[in-house]
Structure formats: C-alpha cells, structure tokens
C-alpha cells in the first residue's frame, strides 16, 4: 500500500512502541505534524525550545527504559537540539531525534533554514542518518531504534528532507535489518570470568565501583548478590547512585570530586577494584595517574573502547553487566572482609563528610534533607548542574534505581526543568521533584509553559543563592575569592511562576521550609518553591583540581571560615 514518508514515519514509530514525542514543529516538519492527527497513539508534547524537548526525551528514556523521541525542524530547530544530544551521548541515554530537512533539491544550496545537522552531530551521536530515499525510511528508523537502545545506548539522529516526508511510496514494514558493522558483545568470556573470580578470591581490600551501566543493564539484583556473596563494599559513581541501595550495609556512598571522603579513601586504598559499568571519568577518579596505585583493576563494561581508556586495567571483561555478574556470581566463593569493611566504617565516622554547620540561616543542605524527609525518600529527584546538584546527590538517599536523574558527563545547566517533564511523563505515578539552581533553571525556564500546558505535577525547588554557585566556590577556594561574572541579578521566581499560572512560595527562613514543602506536596499540580539560601555556602567535600582522590578538602570548622562568611552564615538572607 502506498503511504507518504510522514505516514511511514508515524507507523514505524508506533511499531517501535513509541507513545510520546517531544518536539516543536516548523517549516520542514509540517508534513509530519499534518499527519500526526491520523495517529492518536502518538502523544505530542509541545516544548518552547528544542533543547528542552531533547532533555525531556532524555529524562523520559532514563526512567522508562525506552528510547526518548523528539521532533525538531531544520536549521535552528535542529541546532537547538545539539546540547540535548551531546548530553544524552555523554550519559549513554537512548534518544531518537527526528529532524526535518529542506527538500532534496535544495540540500547544499544554503536554502532557508538549511543546516547540515548530520555533520554537526557526527561526534555526539552513536549514529546518524540523512534519508535520501523514501523507500529506505522505515528501515532507517528501525535501525535507529536498534542502535539507540542496544549495546551501550546513545542518541541517533534521523534527518528527513521535507519532500521525503511528502513522497508516496509503496510501504512494506521491514522485518529485518542488516547492520554488518554493528557489534554487540553477547557472549561472556569464560576465561576472563575465571581470572576475575580468582582475583576477587584473593583480594583483602576489594571495592566495587558501580556506575550508570548497572542501571542501564538492570543488574541491581546481580550486583547485590555479588556484593553480598563476596562481601565487597560498594561505592557508586554520581550517575551510579541508585544502582545499589544506599541504605545497604555494604553501601559506602559515592566517590569523586564531591563524593564522600570515606568512599574516596576506600577506593584509593583498595587492593582490588571491581569497576562495573563506569568509565573512570576524571570527576570520579581525580588525578588518574595517582588513582588507586596499589589496586588491581577488574573493569566490566559493554563498550570495549572504555577498557583501558583512562586507567590501566588488569582484567577486562566486555559484556552486558547482568550476564557478566551472573557468571561471576556462579564462579566466586563466599568471603568475609570484616576488618576492611569496619575500617571504611571508621573512616566514615572520622570524616563526617556531610556534617551541617550550626546556623540560624537557611542552608541548602538543610533544605534537601527536609525534602527527603517530607517525601519519605520516595520522590524521583531531577537536578540541573551546579552546587544544588551536588547537595541533592549528597543529602537525599537513593535506594532505588532511576530515582536520581541528572546530567553527569556533559554537566548541562538547564537540564533539570525539561528533564523533569520527561521523567514525569515517563513515570507518572512517581512524585517528581526538580531541584534547580537559580542560575541553572534560567537556561530553560521557558519550559514552565510546557508544565502548565500539560498540567504536570512537577514540584520545583530552586536552591537560590544568587550566584553561579559552583563557579563562585572555585573562585573563592582556588582564585583568591575574586568573584568575576558569578553574581546573579535574579527575577522574582515566584512571580515568574505566577505568570505561568503555577503557584509558588518564597522561603527565606529555616522554619518555613517544611510547611512550604508540605504545601507543594498537597497541591495537586505543579508548584514552585524559591529557597533563598545562604549565598556563600560551599559544597564539601571537594577534591582540589589536580589532587589525588583521597585528598578531599573537608568542611572547615566554623572558626576558620573567614569573618565575612561567618557573618553571612549568621544573618538571614533577603
């Protein structure tokens, strides 16, 4: 039967199980949008900026275990997606981005709203396509979903010229796709498993570092069985939070620049590191040359190119983490590491990474802790990038996978609000709290309109310190407190919310925090709280740049904080 390219697109999307599309229409996607009403199974969520649509698709993908799909028009529509695509690429999030392109006769002529988006996105996609034959559209879409969702997931862009969307061709749904160069390791290498098991068997101070790969593979039970059977303490990466219950006796929190001192010390002093679905990012390892110098490293990852990329590896195991851990669990023997585990416990006691300074003022960590208490730890937390992100990671407790959604690898400010939309649509039964920075949220604040239009019950907590806080902190600690370009003039966020018909409340006093959170929870729709927190609170612990993993700066005692800061801690913010 003959169908137009736009119809073929919609029908193939439905066959791939797509229910939600995030996007903005434009000149080059008009034929697709004109076709959408024929397919009520596809729900379109209208955004205000394509970056928002891409982050929402990313957030949706992370909680729904399905590829997130977004639509954008050619030219600026497509280039606006770029940050969102790069973000998904760094965090291995499956996206399928459909962009309109000018008609085939106009390609290469610098036509109105023409951009070579496949060239632009070449280094930030797992793969991308420019569809030049309508007959190949359906196969292309099927390939795109397969590539985006399998192996190490990632974003795929399909650029579809307008005349391809309009052209009518005979449509046969392709049953098979052929990707001769696309290799996914499915077999578990038995020899490597044996080597790993042997190393784990002789380890005296082993540590597991669990990353986002565990979440992507859905290997929580296998990880738990492994840790418990071999009695290996678990630390996670930032994006690995939730891959292992944080209330588990073997959990020792997360490592890295703002990670816990005891987690960093455990890794630095380990004799065997079992790195699972993580990629030794510099924010996790600190100085890679001095990283865990005495440890043998077992690295389990589905992406062979991650092995040995940043840190030398003794036993590489390439494969799906779930399968690999199952094989390892069969091979290893029950062990005990009582002394080692109590030593890390002692470090945790000695170096209380998260002690809160006694203060009358409104401290950001206090706010996060109250959100945790009032939501009983059951909310899904979505953050932007900056100090608020680190406090949210530190002071909320993540016992279940996919309960913390954040931009890790790319560090994209403005991720929080649109991603929270995607998360809410992906798991509508869960409470979603968008913990935002006052700087971060202003990069995508227009998506408040999307929240209102779709009436999504996203609770927004702005940790408002009037600064680009993490940059200010670096200027304070490493640039002689010379503040340049970090002080923010901010609008009245509650008034902004009100303009978008979203109720909100400003909180300046400690005692008003809990009632405000309760009010947000009791309100059935979206709600915004503007927490006017202490302007110069710092995120501790912090590993200074270029330092070794176990050289964190810990929160200084009150008397050593310089005078002006003591005063500002004591006084209430405006």
């Amino acid at each position: 039967m003959k169908k137009t390219g736009a119809q073929i697109l919609c029908e193939t999307l439905i066959k791939e199980g797509v229910e939600i599309v995030f996007g903005i229409p434009g000149g080059s996607t008009l034929p697709i949008y004109d076709t959408l009403p024929q397919y009520p199974q596809l729900r379109h969520i209208l955004f205000r900026h394509e970056q928002g649509a891409a982050h929402a698709a990313d957030g949706y993908a992370r909680v729904s275990n399905k590829a997130g799909v977004c639509f954008a028009t050619s030219g600026p529509g497509a280039t606006n997606l770029v940050t969102g695509i790069a973000n998904a690429y760094m965090d291995s999030s499956p996206l399928v981005c459909i962009t309109g392109q000018v008609g085939r006769p106009f390609i290469g002529k610098d036509a109105f709203q023409e951009t070579d988006i496949s060239a632009i996105t070449l280094p930030i996609t797992k793969y991308n396509y420019l569809v030049t034959e309508t007959e190949k559209l359906s196969t292309t879409i099927r390939e795109a979903f397969h590539i985006a969702q399998t192996g190490r997931p990632g974003p795929v862009v399909i650029d579809i010229p307008k005349d391809v969307q309009q052209e009518e061709v005979e449509f046969n749904y392709p049953e098979k796709i052929d990707l001769p160069g696309y290799k996914i390791v499915s077999r578990v290498h038995a020899v490597q498993i044996k080597k790993a098991a042997k190393l784990i068997g002789v380890a005296r101070k082993p540590v597991i570092i669990a990353g986002r790969g565990v979440v992507l593979s859905g290997a929580y039970d296998e990880l738990k069985e492994f840790a418990e059977k071999a009695q290996v303490p678990v630390v996670t990466t930032l994006l690995g939070l939730g891959s292992f219950p944080q209330n588990h006796i073997l959990n020792f929190d997360w490592l890295g620049m703002h990670g816990m001192v005891h987690a960093n010390m455990a890794v630095q002093n380990a004799d065997v590191i079992i790195a699972i679905g993580m990629r030794f990012d510099d924010r996790a390892t600190a100085d890679t040359k001095k990283f865990a110098q005495h440890a043998k490293v077992i690295h389990i990852d589905i992406d062979p190119a991650e092995i040995g990329k940043n840190v030398p590896v003794d036993v590489p195991i390439v494969g799906d983490i779930k399968n690999v851990l199952r094989a390892i669990n069969k091979e290893i023997e029950t062990k005990e590491h009582v002394d080692w585990i109590s030593l890390i416990g002692e470090w945790r006691y000695e170096h209380q990474s998260l002690k809160i300074v006694e203060s009358e003022g409104l401290l950001p960590d206090y706010v996060i802790q109250q959100i945790y208490k009032e939501t009983y730890g059951n909310a899904t937390i979505v953050t932007g990038v900056g100090q608020h992100q680190m406090w949210a990671a530190q002071h909320y407790v993540y016992n279940k996978p996919n309960t913390l959604i954040m931009s890790g690898g790319l560090g994209t400010m403005g991720f929080e609000l649109p991603a929270a939309i995607g998360v809410n649509i992906g798991c509508p039964k869960e409470a979603v709290w968008c913990i935002a920075g006052d700087g971060s949220i202003q990069m995508t604040i227009q998506e408040l309109a999307t929240i209102r239009q779709e009436n999504l019950p996203v609770k927004i907590a702005i940790i408002n310190n009037g600064y680009l806080g993490l940059v200010r902190q670096w200027q304070e600690l490493f640039y002689n407190r010379s503040y340049v370009g970090v002080k923010l003039w901010n609008p009245d966020f509650v008034a902004i919310a009100k303009a978008y018909d979203i109720p909100g409340i400003k909180v300046t006093h400690r005692e008003d925090v809990v009632p405000a959170i309760q009010k947000a929870i009791d309100n059935p729709g979206p709600f915004l709280i503007d927490f006017m927190v202490e302007p110069e609170s710092n995120v501790y612990p912090i590993i200074p740049p270029g330092e070794r993993l176990d050289k964190s700066l810990e929160i200084p005692p009150m008397e050593t904080i310089n005078k002006s800061k003591v005063m500002s801690y004591g006084k209430r913010s405006k």
């Binding site: 070449l122 160069g181 696309y182 062979p304």
Partner: protein
C-alpha cells in the same frame, strides 16, 4: 607525544561499508581523539558493498589501541586490525614528474630501470615516472631523482595486507 620513543608508525586496515559519509566518520574520529592520519587509502574490495581502508598513523601502542577500538565501534566499520607487527605486504604508488634535458634523460631512464619503475609520460623538458614499492624504495628513488629537479609528486599512500 612526539618525544615519546615508543611513538611508532602503525598500519590499521579496516573493512568498511561503502556508504556516503563513512570517510568523514573515520576522519572525524581521528581528529576528535587527537591523532594525525599520515596516509589513508581506500577502495573496493572482494566483498560487494564493502571497502578496505589502509590508515597509517603514529603513536604509542596504548593510544593506537584506543583509536582502533573507537574505529571498531563505528557502525560502518565491520572490522579493523592493527597489522603493524604482523608479517605483511605494503605498497605505495607514486607518480613523479622530473626535469629532463637531452643530457640527463638517459641517466634518469637508467635509474628508473634499476628501480623497476616505468616512464609513463615524456615531454621536451620532463619525464613522468610511475613507481610502486614500499616506502624505503620510493624514498631512495626520490633521493636519486631530486638532483634533476622534481616538478611534481603525487603519492597514493600505503595499502597493506597481512600475509597468510
């Protein structure tokens, strides 16, 4: 990296899909990971819809291994092998246009014969030589021809194949 003594020349042979944009993907990957391509030769091979690429690059083994893995990850790359340390045949073709006068022409032809190269074009003032061989052979030929005055050189870059 230049000063690293372990910095050596590597020959990667890749079987790639014969599709538009594949060369751009390979080139982009080298650029992004900070590597130089010294030469790259590509052409059809024994499989329909596939091409074989020979890439010559320079670097430390671990870095080259990282590039090889990244290349292998490209969807259009079916297989990629570092054949540097294997027994192999490697050849390159060069076209060399050299100044030739009545007085020097015979000497040039003798040199060309010794190198089993061919004269493929003659003009009043020049000879064009076609030479095939490994890198050292071509370099020696060029050294000998240089004193006559070389007007133009065009080289294909290496193609290579592991021995059985």
């Amino acid at each position: 990296m230049e000063k690293d003594p372990s910095n050596k020349k590597h020959i990667l042979v890749a079987l790639v899909e014969d599709k538009p944009g594949v060369l751009a993907r390979v080139a982009s990957l080298f650029r992004r990971r900070g590597f130089n391509i010294q030469s790259l030769a590509v052409g059809h091979c024994e499989h329909a819809h596939l091409s074989r690429m020979t890439i010559v690059t320079k670097g430390r083994f671990l870095d080259i291994e990282q590039v090889r893995k990244q290349l292998d990850k490209l969807i259009n790359v079916v297989r990629v092998t570092d054949i540097t340390d294997r027994s192999m045949v490697a050849r390159e073709l060069a076209l060399i246009k050299v100044n030739a006068t009545a007085a020097t022409r015979n000497e040039i032809i003798q040199i060309v014969d010794i190198f089993r190269a061919n004269i493929v074009d003659v003009s009043i003032n020049t000879l064009t030589v076609e030479a095939t061989g490994d890198e050292s052979k071509l370099e020696s030929l060029l050294d000998l021809l240089r004193r006559f005055g070389i007007k133009e050189i065009s080289r294909t870059g290496k193609i290579a194949m592991a021995r059985q």
